[in-house]
């Protein structure tokens, strides 16, 4: 199972406590992971990727194993540790505040 950590705003929106676990069929990429996430939680459509362009929203970043995956092509396979569930795929909203 793939583990996904969402920011607080989106956990509230999706009525989620803690991590999400997802079954992703086929190759595990950003695109297939986000497709599976949106299938499980339709209210998240448009919150991570633009509904029309399917591009990552500019204030949203993706991390795993302390590596920034935000700028990886969406069809690149995610790291083995994410695919195996050893490490979560982490969604972070850009920092706001002073």
């Amino acid at each position: 199972m793939i583990r996904v950590v969402l920011p607080a705003h989106l956990r509230t929106l999706a009525n989620i406590d803690g991590e999400v676990t997802l079954e992703v069929t086929g190759e595990v990429t950003q695109r297939s992971l986000l497709d599976a996430l949106e299938l499980e939680f339709p209210m998240l459509k448009g919150t991570l990727r633009d509904q029309v362009t399917q591009e990552r929203r500019k204030f949203v970043r993706f991390f795993a194993q302390e590596e920034d995956l935000s700028h990886e092509p969406p069809d690149t396979e995610l790291p083995d540790a994410v695919v195996s569930g050893a490490e979560p795929f982490i969604v972070i909203g850009a920092m706001a505040g002073g």
Binding site: H9, L13, K45, F59
Partner: protein, 371 residues
Amino acid sequence: MSGVRVLVGTRKGAFILSADGKRTDWKIEGPYFGGWELYHVKASPVDPDRLYASQSTSWFGQLIQRSDDGGETWSPVGNEFRYAGVPGTHQWYDGTPHPWEFARVWHLEPSPADADTIFAGVEDAALFRSVDGGNEWNELPGLREHGSGPAWQPGAGGMCLHTIVLDPNDANRMFVAISAAGVFRTYDGGETWEPANRGLHSEGIPDEDAEVGHCVHRIAMHPSAPDVLYMQKHWDVMRTNDGADTWSEVSGNLPSDFGFPIDVHAHEPETIYVVPITSDSEHYPPEGKLRVYRSRTGGQEWEPLTKGLPQRDCYVNVLRDAMAVDSLDSCGVYFGTTGGQVYASADSGDSWEPLVRDLPAVLSVEVQTLS
């Protein structure tokens, strides 16, 4: 037992304020969608339990929420706002072409005839409609494509379609306002549109009497007089008696004719309200005195309404969608401020009281009159 429900959108969530018909004891509920910007919350005139809310942030985009039980519970509905065809460009602040990009929904206007039909005014400016309770949205592209679209420019807040006025007596007739393009009208339910800005005069644009390019802040109509529209423009309060064929200025004796909201008394089509702001850069009341101005003559002659409002050291603003009226026998008037106060008058503006003082900055106020 009659009652009222005040729907308040703020920078950090929505709130619902409710009271019985006496309007003395208020129940404050919220925040709903805490941490999100709620540009607008509005109820269906057909079904008082049907509420729609525009929820967004710059981080996570646009959501539309719907309640079918008067705000007790909410569910996200459709949030795909896809411009029809290839949307092309409008003008950027510096006059260069800029691609049309969806940013957010500024205003939701439910149909007066059908609870499942609702219009959405969006940034970058366009008009969308849903006929299935908000699940699916389709643009009415005749507005954006009528011809002047490539010349539209954003106002300081973005290029937003912020006002939608539906004629309750004629479903084919509607008006919209865009900053900073102006007023547009349709007589065929939104298929075709034309600018309706004759008589507007705006200093600071290259052609001060241009067909489009005026920064209209808000327009309002009384349902019994659909040919009379009132306008708060960037500067100037305006009026038309002929369905926006021509506009004329009715700023009269206002201390400043800059402002954002304008609204009409529920039972008196010639009684209107504005909240003057000092200037286009000083978005606070003149002299630090928060005054609603009322005209009982459809403009020109205005009286300040101050009882219960702060008359010193007040430097808040009242945004364009943050004023509304109820339709109880003694018309109630409501407005919210960027300082988080929501004020109400149960006597047509003669006296005011704060319903709540410390909300996040108020973006919108709408009122339901419940039977």
